[in-house]
Symmetry: C2
C-alpha cells in the first residue's frame, strides 16, 4: 500500500473570500506565501506567525518564511550587515498541529496554548443583483477573518504573539497613518492586514522585524520590507486577538469586457474593507464554525473531509464576481491557467454552486449564450472558456482552442454543447427556475438539433453517438475535457465517456422540454436517449467484460468516467434513469461489470500507489473526476467499492497533503504512481467532492 513520502503534512491552502480572485496562501512547510491577487500560485511573502514565552526569549514561528536577506545593506553600503532575522526557531511540523476545517485552518502549538486560525466562511448567497447593501457588504467583502491567541492562564510571565508579513520588493505602509480605527499594514491600495486598536499591541516594521534596529517617531522604519503586529498576553490571562486580511482591486478589473470588481460598489478602499471585517468579525467567525461543524458531523471519513475542505478553499480562491454594465458577471478562474469560466469546469462546479450561489450558474450560462456561443456546420455550440488572465476573448472564441490539432488545445465543441445542456437543465430543475428555462427555449432546441447533427446530419444514420467533428477543428479532431490524457479520454468522436454524458443530456432535455411544453421535442429526446443507451450496449466487449474507451481503432483502454454522465440524473433524483434495474437496465448491467473490473489494481487502481486512475492507459489522473466517479459508483454501483477501491481516499488525501501537490494548494492533475501534480495546480475543480455529502 501507499506509504506517505513525508512523515508530516506539508501543503499550501488558499484562504479566500468569495468573488475576489484573491488568496492568502500558507501551509507548505519552510515556504513563504501570503497575499496574492489573481495569481497562478502562492505568493512569496514571508509570513510571521508565532509566539515567545518572554520578552527576550527566542520566537517560535510557524515555518512560513524563508529568511529574507536584509535590505539594510542597500542603504548602508555595508556588506557586513546582510543577514536574516535572528532569534527565532522555525517550528518543525512535529511541534505543531494543523486542522483544516471546511471554512477554517487552525494551527496549535505549545500544548495547544498557542493558536492561530484563518477563516474562509461561505454560505448561501442570494443573487447579488438583488442584495441590499448590508447583505452585499457581508457576503462579498474581499476579506478573511482570522485570530491569534495564547492561553497564558498558568503562565507567570507575559507571552508575546506575532502576526506579520514581509515583502522586500514591495514595502508595506502602516494603516494607522490613514485610518485611526486600524492597526496593521497595507501594500499600497491592494492588500493588508489589521487588528482592532486595543492595548497591548505593538506595530513593527524593519529590516529584521524580530529585532528592529531603527525606529522612527512611531517606532517603525517604513522603508523596510518586513512588518508585524506584536500582541502581549499578560501572565494569568488568555487572550484571542481578531485579525482581518483584506484585498482591494480598484479600477478596471478585466479587458475585452471592461469590468470592475462587484465589491467596489460597497467598499471604497482597502481600509473600508478591513474596518468592516473587524466590525463583523464575530459574525464571520460564527459562520465559519457552522460550516466546520457541518463537515465535521458528516458521514465522511477524515481523509474525505480533508479533501473537501482543501478543495473548497481553492475553489473560493478562483471565484471572481465582477460588475459589467451595472450587472453581476460571475467567473471562476481556472487555477494556474486562469482561463475565465472554463465550461468543462463550470459543469463540475455545478453541484457546489447550486447549493450556495445558484445564480452563478445561470449567470455563466447566460454569458455563454450571449457572447460565447457559435454555430459551425453542424449547429450551435459554446466555447471552451471566456478568456484568460482577466482578458475576455472576442465573442464566439475561447482563449484555449486552436485549429488543426488532434490533441491538447483543439476544440471541444461537443463537450461544451453537452455542458451547456447539462448545466442549464440541472440549474432549472434544481432551483425550479421555470421562467429562465422557458426563456432558453430557442437555445435548448438548437442544442438538441446540434446534438443530432453531430451524431449524423442524416437522421437515418443516427445512433446517438458523436461521430462528426466540428469544422472549427480544420484537419484536426475534437477533444474532450480530458485533454491531457491519452486518446482513451482525449478524443471526442466515438468516446465512451462523452457518449454516456450525451445520454444524460438527452435524459435531461427530455424532462426540460416536457416542463416547458415542448412535447414533441421531449418525445424525440426520450427516444434518442433510448437509442443511444441501446447503441452503447452494443459496444460492450462480452469477452472482456469491459467497455472500450473509444469505439474505434481497436482501443481497449478502460476508463472510470464511463459512468460520469449519470451524476446529473442522480443529482436531480431521476430514479428510473439511475436505477440499475430501471430504464437503462441492460446498459447498467454492463457498466456494473465494467466498473467492478476497472476498480482493480493495475487497471484503474494504480499498481504502485493504490490511487484511482481515470484510464487504465494513462498515469495522469484527475482528483475532481475521481471524486465525481466515486460518488456515482458508491451510489449506483456500491458493490464495486472493494476494500482496495475504498483505500483510495487515503491515497488521494496524502497526495494533496504532501508537497508533490501541496506546493500549489489543491491540484487536479496528478501522476497516479508518485502523487506529484502534473498540471491543474491551485485549482477549483476538486469541489466535486461536495457531492459526497449527499450520500
Amino acid at each position: 500500500m501507499h506509504a506517505p513520502l513525508f512523515p508530516h503534512d506539508s501543503y499550501h491552502t488558499q484562504h479566500s473570500p468569495l468573488g475576489a480572485f484573491a488568496s492568502f496562501s500558507i501551509g507548505l512547510v519552510d515556504s513563504p506565501g501570503g497575499f496574492g491577487q489573481s495569481l497562478r500560485g502562492a505568493a512569496k511573502q514571508n509570513v510571521y506567525i508565532g509566539f515567545r514565552a518572554a520578552a527576550h526569549s527566542e520566537w517560535q514561528l510557524l515555518p512560513f518564511l524563508t529568511p529574507p536577506k536584509s535590505k539594510e545593506s542597500a542603504f548602508t553600503g555595508d556588506t557586513g550587515v546582510v543577514q536574516p532575522p535572528r532569534g527565532f526557531n522555525s517550528l518543525p511540523p512535529s511541534d505543531y498541529e494543523r486542522t483544516l476545517g471546511w471554512a477554517s485552518d487552525t494551527w496549535r502549538a505549545d500544548t495547544s496554548r498557542f493558536g492561530f486560525s484563518l477563516l474562509s466562511p461561505f454560505t448561501e448567497i442570494p443573487d447579488p443583483a438583488k442584495l441590499n447593501k448590508a447583505s452585499a457588504r457581508f457576503h462579498l467583502a474581499p476579506q478573511l477573518s482570522g485570530w491569534i491567541e495564547y492561553d497564558n492562564r498558568t503562565g507567570t510571565a507575559p507571552v508575546q504573539l506575532i502576526f506579520g508579513v514581509g515583502d522586500s520588493d514591495n514595502t508595506l505602509r502602516p494603516l494607522s497613518d490613514t485610518n485611526p480605527h486600524l492597526i496593521g499594514f497595507a501594500s499600497g491600495t491592494a492588500y493588508g492586514y489589521a487588528t482592532k486598536p486595543t492595548r497591548g499591541i505593538e506595530l513593527r516594521q524593519g529590516f529584521d522585524v524580530l529585532n528592529p534596529k531603527f525606529r522612527d517617531y512611531r517606532g517603525l522604519s517604513v522603508i523596510a520590507g518586513e512588518t508585524a503586529l506584536i500582541f502581549t498576553v499578560p501572565a494569568g490571562q488568555r487572550r484571542r486577538f481578531p485579525l482581518a486580511l483584506g484585498f482591494y482591486a480598484g479600477g478596471t478589473a478585466t479587458t475585452g469586457l471592461t469590468t470592475t470588481y462587484f465589491y467596489t460598489q460597497y467598499f471604497r478602499d482597502l481600509e473600508e474593507v478591513l474596518v468592516h471585517g473587524l466590525a463583523q468579525h464575530g459574525r464571520y467567525t460564527k459562520l465559519a464554525a457552522q460550516r466546520d461543524r457541518e463537515l465535521a458531523k458528516s458521514q465522511l471519513d477524515a481523509d474525505q473531509k480533508f479533501l473537501l475542505a482543501q478543495a473548497t478553499h481553492s475553489y473560493l480562491g478562483s471565484t471572481q464576481l465582477l460588475l459589467h454594465k451595472g450587472q453581476p458577471l460571475w467567473s471562476v478562474n481556472e487555477g494556474e491557467y486562469r482561463m475565465i469560466n472554463t465550461f468543462d469546469l463550470t459543469v463540475d462546479h455545478l453541484f457546489f454552486e447550486l447549493t450556495w450561489h445558484p445564480w452563478a450558474v445561470r449567470n455563466a450560462l447566460d454569458l455563454f449564450v450571449r457572447r460565447y456561443s457559435y454555430t459551425d456546420q453542424l449547429g450551435l455550440s459554446f466555447t471552451h472558456d471566456m478568456g484568460v488572465n482577466n482578458f475576455f476573448s472576442p465573442a464566439g472564441h475561447s482563449s484555449y482552442e486552436c485549429d488543426n490539432i488532434k490533441g491538447c488545445f483543439s476544440h471541444m465543441t461537443m463537450e461544451q454543447l453537452l455542458n451547456w445542456v447539462l448545466c442549464a437543465c440541472t440549474y432549472a430543475e434544481h432551483t425550479g427556475d421555470r421562467a429562465w428555462l422557458r426563456a432558453q427555449k430557442k437555445t435548448l432546441l438548437a442544442c438538441a438539433d446540434s446534438l443530432h447533427h453531430r451524431d449524423d446530419p442524416d437522421p437515418k444514420k443516427r445512433d446517438g453517438i458523436l461521430k462528426h467533428d466540428s469544422s472549427r477543428v480544420g484537419d484536426g479532431a475534437e477533444i474532450t475535457t480530458y485533454d491531457s490524457l491519452d486518446v482513451s479520454l482525449g478524443q471526442a468522436r466515438n468516446n465512451l465517456y462523452l457518449s454516456v454524458k450525451t445520454l444524460a443530456a438527452w435524459v435531461l432535455l427530455e424532462k426540460a422540454f416536457d416542463q416547458i411544453g415542448l412535447k414533441k421535442s421531449a418525445i424525440d429526446a426520450a427516444s434518442t436517449a433510448d437509442i443511444l443507451a441501446h447503441t452503447l450496449t452494443t459496444k460492450f466487449e462480452t469477452d472482456t467484460g469491459f467497455f472500450p474507451a473509444v469505439f474505434e481503432a481497436g482501443n481497449h483502454s478502460r476508463i472510470l468516467p464511463a459512468v460520469e454522465g449519470f451524476v446529473y440524473p442522480l443529482f436531480l433524483g431521476y430514479e428510473d434513469e439511475v436505477n440499475p434495474t430501471g430504464r437503462f437496465a441492460p446498459l447498467f448491467t454492463q457498466l456494473r461489470q465494467h466498473i467492478a473490473q476497472a476498480l482493480q489494481p493495475g487497471v484503474c487502481l494504480d499498481a504502485t500507489s493504490g490511487g484511482w486512475k481515470m484510464s487504465s492507459t494513462s498515469k495522469n489522473t484527475w482528483f475532481s473526476k475521481i471524486a465525481l466517479a466515486q460518488h456515482v459508483i458508491r451510489q449506483i454501483f456500491p458493490k464495486a467499492m472493494t476494500a482496495a477501491a475504498r483505500q483510495g481516499d487515503r491515497v488521494h488525501a496524502d497526495w494533496q497533503r504532501q508537497p508533490g501537490c501541496g506546493v500549489d494548494a489543491m491540484c487536479d492533475q496528478i501522476w497516479s504512481d508518485t502523487g506529484i501534480t502534473c498540471g491543474s495546480r491551485y485549482y477549483p475543480r476538486g469541489v466535486t467532492a461536495f457531492l459526497w455529502l449527499r450520500e
Copy 2:
C-alpha cells in the same frame, strides 16, 4: 590604470517617459528586462529583438532573454515537452553595436543592415497646470517611441524582423481584439506595445514564439506567455517599422496623499496611449534626434556623453507626475529605495530640472513647506523625503528618518534646511519668479533664523558652522546626505561639506532677501557668510595643506565635497563669490590647495581604479556627487585637473557600462576599487552630469 573587467559593454538602460514612474529596461547582456511600473530594478520579461535572413533560417536575437521554460507542459501534463524556444542565436556583444544617445538607444547588427532603437525624447515642458490638452498629451503621454528596421536593398530574399515580450507569469493579450488601430500586445490594462496595422506584419503568441505550435482562428495561442510582432522586409527594400511602448496606471496611484497619475486626465486607457504614440511617432522621433544632436555636438568626450545619457535615462524613469485635488504633484522617486522627493536628491536634480521643467522644483518646494516641514527646538526644517513606495508619509515626517541613531537612518535636519534654501533661491533667481519668492518671505526668514540657531542659540557664540543637532535625533546625531560614507561625510555637526554648503546658502539668501526688499536680513546674511568663510579658513591645516572633513575629534579625512557648495553661486553666475581672487579669496586659496592635493592617487583618486572618491577614508563613492565636484573643480580650480584626475571619466563610464553597475542601469553608490555598485541602484541622481554642458 583601470582595465575593463569585460571586453564589451553590458548594462541596462531605463527607457522611460517623463512622469510615469515606469521604465522599459533592456541592455544587460544575457538578461531579460522589459516593462516595469514603479519597480526598484529591471523587470524580468523576455525581450525578443532581432532578424533572420530567410523564412527558415535561424533567428539572430539581441541577448535579452533567458530562454523561458515552456509552460506548455502545465497544460499537457507531458514533462517531455518542457523546452526553451528553439532556432535562435543569441548575438554576442561582438556581433552588434550599441549607441546610447541622450534620448535614444540604438542597436545595429548585420553590418548595420539591422537596426532597433528606443527613444526617450524630453524637452522643455511648461507648467502642467497650464498646459492645453494637445500639449499635455504630447508631453505627458506615458509611452516610448521605438523602431525596428532592415536594409534589404541588396538582399535577394525577404528578411523577417521580430520585436516581442514574454512573461509566462502574466500572459499578454492581443490589442487588435479591443482596438483595430493597434497591432500588438498588452498586459491587462498596465502596459503593452504596438505598431501601426500595415501589410507584412504578423502577430505571434505561443509557448515558443519563434516556433508556434498551436494557432487559433487568428493564428495565436493566447493562453501562452510569449508574444511578438513579426515584420517582413521584401528583398530589394529597406523598411523601418514604428513601435509604441506604453504604460497605464489607472485608479489610485498613491496613498497617504490620494492621487492619480496626471496623464489619466488625457488618456482613458492604454489603448489611447498607444494610438497617440503611433500617431505622434514622427514628432517624438524628431525630438529625440534633436536631443541626441545636442549632446553629440557638445564639448563632452565620449565617456562623459555616455554618462550623461545613461543618467538622464534613469532620471526620467524615476519621475512621477501625479494629480492631487486637481493640481499637479511632482515627484522623483529615489531609485531602488523609491522614497518620494528625497530632498537631498531634489537639490541635485535642480540644475537639470530648472532647464527642462522648472515648475517641478517649485512644486516640490511648496509641498515641503505645506506638509513636509517641521519645527524643532532650534527652528524650521524639512523632512528627508515625503514617503516611500507610493505612500506619502504623515505630515511633518519622512519615511527614512529614525530616532536615537548616530549613522544611517538618522535625521538630516540641517542638510534639508540648506536644501530648501538652496533650491528655493536657485529656482527663483534662475527663473525670475519673483512673485513666488516674495510669497516665501516668511519661510525664508524662518530658514535664516533656523540656520542661525543651529550654529548657536546664543548670537555671540556664532561662527557660521552647524554645532547643534536637532532634538529629533534624541540621543543620536544628525547626518548628511552622505549617510553611508564614514564619519568624514556622514556626520552633520562641524562638517566641512555642510559648512561650505551653508556658506552658499547665506550667499543665496543675501541676494534673495535683497530682491524682496528685506535689506536688514540681506545684510545679516552677507555678514554671516563672511563670518563663516573666515571661520572656515581657521580650520585649514597649514601643515598638511588640507581641510579636515570634520572639525572635531582629530578627523583627518580628505573630501572632495569641500567645494560642492560653490555649485549654486556658480550656476547662478555670482561672479564675486566664485572668483578665487574675489570675496572669499583667502578661503579659495586654501580650497585650491586642498583640492589639488586631494586629486591624487591614494587620496581621493582610488589607488586601484583611478576613479574619484568622495572621501580619502571611504571606498564608497557616489557618481552624482563626483559629477558635481568635477564641474565645480573644472570651473573654479581648473589646475587641479591633472592627467590622473581627467582619467576619471573613462573609469566612471566603465563602471556604469559593465555589469557591476549595469545590472541596475544608472547606479550611484559604487566601490571605488572594484566599480561594483553598493547602493543607490536604478538611480536618478546622476543627472548632475547635466552641469557639464555649461562648461
